[in-house]
């Protein structure tokens, strides 16, 4: 039995990999599936071109995993393609290095006529020096995590959410169990190995293992705009930096990102000056950016690993992720951590981690996730019922079908995440929630839903979003008589 701590992409990936090898596995998370970094990213399925110059190993990993994921989880991936645009302000020498890097990593980059790019996408700056297509894609993170979680369950694995791991017990220097606190009290899980895939919380989990690991946390700010402004990913051709990528994520567009060091694993509050800086950078690629309908801002915390090279890490493994065998350091036997990495390479990270765990458990079956096929969830029935969230077309039956907290209802259905940001549905969903779970406090729930939306809206109060916020305030106070102002 293996306990995996963290139900983000990496943790689910490890649990899935082990479950497919026939290992009994439980993945445990302090909140819901994907509530950490995995649910807070720009949605890019990397072609690898972004790292072609600065991180060749990551570039190659991305290229391979990109191709694999398209086959494994076609229902959660959109083959949009992407372009790289070098503006007249960007270094031409980088273009040469970039082309070499793409060539070395096997990433197909095809030259485009800058004039045609400008004709086809008139909102892109007129200062295009050169442009190339690359096989970028878009990854629907929550969807893919749900598919993986379903397959874990189908292979006799368990996904235990809303349980906070408080201790890892050892017997004779070997991992023997995990203690967690949940809504129903304390639970003890006996296990032979534990995998720490807690993302930004990995440092804290490693302390429970008695073998601290040095983490370098930084957060990225992203801005979400209504509508799919481009049919493909638009990258700026320069060393990966801030505000240089636009991703069409389903029906919205995401502008990313920034990189600011921080101490806490929690996604931080948003700083106004950072928002303005990201807008300034975004404008260099899209001069009309101010006229776009902004929806909200959000942040995600990157769990980077700051350790010295260790024997346990393979040369083949890209330096942006690490698998650590704590027994080879100061920890107990049967304790492993996986840190760093990219969403795009989650399967590869899981494979490398599971190989190490399987070796420890003397399980000989190989990794089969590269050949696995994750289906699509059943198509929605067109039931004759009223729509609760009109922006995202969510009905009561869609919500009732989701297990978990109101936030899991939200991430599974996207209710309250459209242009009105919950103005017209938060109270309806609260009422439905109360009907299904009468023990939950509805006053607290509506406060929570409103605060969650306000957190993302308030840093971007301009244009139509400012008007929407004024409407939301007025509906809350004028019609619903909801509590105090924010």
């Amino acid at each position: 039995m293996v306990v995996v701590i963290g139900a983000g992409a990496t943790g689910l990936g490890v649990a899935w990999d082990l479950a497919l090898r026939g290992v009994e596995v439980t993945v445990i998370d302090q909140s819901g599936i994907g509530f950490g970094t995995s649910g807070r990213f720009h949605g890019l399925l990397h072609s690898g071109a972004r790292y072609a110059v600065t991180d060749p190993t990551a570039a190659q990993d991305c290229r391979e995993e990109n191709a694999r994921l398209r086959t494994i989880a076609s229902g959660a991936i959109e083959d949009t393609g992407g372009i790289f645009v070098r503006t007249q302000d960007d270094d031409p020498a980088f273009e040469t290095a970039w082309l070499e890097g793409c060539n070395r990593a096997g990433i197909p980059a095809t030259r485009l006529d800058p004039q045609k790019v400008r004709m086809r996408y008139p909102e892109v700056t007129g200062r295009i020096a050169s442009a190339y297509t690359v096989p970028d894609g878009v990854l629907e993170g929550f969807h893919l995590m749900q598919l993986v979680a379903q397959d874990i369950t189908a292979h006799q694995g368990t996904v235990l959410t809303h349980h906070h791991v408080s201790a890892v017990t050892t017997v004779d220097g070997r991992v023997a169990g995990v203690t967690a606190e949940g809504p129903g009290g304390q639970v003890h899980l006996h296990c032979d190995a534990v995998v720490n895939a807690a993302g930004p919380w990995a440092g804290r989990v490693a302390e429970l293992l008695g073998d601290p690991i040095p983490m370098h946390l930084s957060y990225g700010l992203m801005l979400l705009f209504a509508q799919r402004k481009f049919p493909l990913v638009i990258n700026r051709m320069k060393a990966p930096g801030d505000g240089d990528i636009f991703v069409p994520h389903q029906r919205v567009t995401i502008l990313g990102t920034t990189d600011i060091a921080q101490d806490s694993p929690e996604a931080p509050a948003i700083v106004q000056s950072e928002v303005e800086r990201l807008m300034t950078l975004g404008r260099e690629l899209i001069p009309s950016l101010d006229s776009w309908r902004v929806l909200r801002a959000f942040t995600g915390v990157r769990p980077l690993y700051e350790g010295e090279t260790h024997a346990a890490s393979s040369r083949e493994v890209s330096r942006d992720f690490k698998v650590i065998d704590h027994h080879a350091r100061h920890g107990p036997a049967g304790a492993f951590s996986v840190v760093g990495g990219k969403w795009t390479t989650f399967r590869l990270m899981a494979e490398r981690t599971s190989d190490m765990v399987a070796g420890y458990l003397k399980v000989s079956s190989p990794c089969v996730t590269a050949e696995a096929r994750l289906g699509s969830p059943p198509a929605k029935m067109a039931a004759p019922e009223s729509v609760l969230c009109e922006c995202e077309r969510v009905c009561a039956s869609d919500l009732r079908a989701v297990k978990g907290s109101v936030d899991e209802w939200r991430t599974a259905t996207w209710f309250s995440m459209g242009p009105c940001q919950g103005t017209f549905c938060a109270h309806r969903v609260t009422a439905l929630r109360h009907a299904v779970f009468p023990e939950e406090d509805p006053d607290e729930m509506i406060r929570h839903l409103r605060a969650e939306r306000a957190k993302g809206m308030i840093p971007v109060l301009w244009g139509a979003n400012a008007r929407e916020y004024a409407l939301q305030q007025a509906v809350r106070f004028q019609t619903l008589e909801e509590g105090e102002s924010l």
Partner: protein, 395 residues
């Protein structure tokens, strides 16, 4: 004849137009959209107190703009008179106490002037909530539970199944059209008759505010006859039938009195009285009153750097932060250099939420009063009581 152009057609614009017509001036209303009345149930609020305060008039000092008691009384009476003349059923006498209506989430919402179709009470009493299956904002079970929890007063509810014609596209306006039809009213009468034996005697029956757009009084009377109980509506979030009825009747009444309504986007409004529309029409007025609705109405726009722009005059008026109301009364005054600026009223004078503190009605009355006085168009209240000095901002 003095000619006045009012920009906007929300409650402040219509109130201004009524006062302008009553003073015998010519009035043109020009608006790009239908105004904010269809967003709300159509109650006008006056810092109605939270908790048991027996006399709202004692709270005059808490108003956003300080006027004398006489001025407030005269303004409220004018508003009530205009509404009654338009056929909107507001009471003859102004309330002497703060009232509460009940929201669709079961909360008590302070209100002041309430049309007869909507439920309002002085203190919490037992009520019977009716939910319509298939109307998303009617959530009777939840509403009833919350009302009991927050007031400690007995209440009960029932859910009425969907009519056979219902489809998932039915919103509040479609429901109201159905109840206005003979078949729809019959359906509702029969459905309520079925549950009426369960309703304790004397309990008011509260139904969602979709009981017709054209004939709410007739429909509610029919339901009262059918059930033997007083039947009232509870307000719903936008789009709101209460406000639509008020807008329909008030606009019709103003049109009958000779007010000209133009649809168009104003691109220029000069202190000289020059008005230009995007489509090329232009004219000159003796006065311009801008009631273009502030941030929510579109009369103000916020840019990425937080600056507040006046969309008519393309001026930057300042900047705004969250929680802050704009203190725009200043904007209506003469600038220091003596350049006359445009007179504004209504939500154009406030920030994110002009209805915060349940004071939207007071905001409208006071700013329209101030604006029309500034233009020398009407004198409301006792002679001598009106001067710019008496209208000061007290936030």
């Amino acid at each position: 004849m003095t000619r006045v152009t009012v920009v906007g057609q929300g409650p402040a614009a219509l109130f201004a137009a009524s006062l302008i017509r009553e003073a015998g001036h010519e009035c043109i209303i020009v608006s790009e959209s239908e105004g904010s009345l269809p967003l709300w149930s159509g109650t006008f609020d006056f810092h109605a107190p939270v908790g048991d305060v027996s006399n709202p008039w004692s709270l005059l000092d808490n108003q956003p703009i300080s006027l004398s008691g006489q001025e407030w009384k005269s303004l409220w009476e004018s508003l009530a008179r205009f509404e009654r003349e338009a056929g909107i059923p507001v009471p003859d006498l102004l309330p002497s106490r703060g009232l509460f209506t009940i929201t669709c989430t079961g909360r008590e919402k302070p209100v002041f002037m309430v049309p007869a179709w909507q439920y309002a009470q002085e203190a919490a009493q037992p009520v019977w909530f009716v939910g319509f299956d298939g109307l998303a904002d009617s959530m009777a079970a939840f509403q009833c539970g919350a009302y009991q929890k927050h007031t400690g007063v007995e209440a009960n509810y029932c859910e009425i199944p969907k009519p056979s014609k219902w489809t998932p596209t039915w919103g509040a306006v479609r429901w109201a059209a159905y109840v206005d039809s003979d078949g729809g009213l019959d359906w509702l009468k029969r459905a309520l008759q079925k549950v009426s034996p369960d309703i304790p005697p004397g309990w008011p029956v509260l139904v969602p505010q979709v009981i017709g757009r054209k004939f709410p009084e007739r429909n509610l009377r029919a339901l009262q006859m059918a059930t033997g109980h007083p039947v009232f509506e509870y307000p719903l979030p936008p789009p709101s039938l209460g406000g639509m009825r008020i807008r329909d009747r008030w606009v019709w009444n103003l049109k009958q009195s000779g007010v000209q309504f133009l649809a168009g986007r104003v691109t220029l409004a000069e202190p000289s009285g020059q008005i230009s529309l995007e489509d090329g029409r232009e004219w000159r007025s003796d006065h311009i009153i801008v009631a273009s609705g502030g941030i929510l109405g579109g009369g103000l726009e916020i840019s990425v750097d937080g600056k507040v722009h006046d969309t008519l005059r393309k001026e930057v008026l300042g900047s705004i932060t969250v929680r802050q109301d704009l203190q725009m009364q200043e904007w209506g005054r003469l600038a220091d250099d003596g350049t006359p600026r445009i007179t504004t009223c209504g939500a154009q004078c406030r920030g994110w939420n002009p209805n915060r503190d349940s004071n939207g009605g007071a905001l409208i009355l006071a700013t329209v009063f101030q604006g029309l006085n500034r233009e020398g168009l009407v004198a409301v209240g006792p002679p001598g009581a009106v001067s710019e000095r008496s209208v000061s901002h007290v936030e």
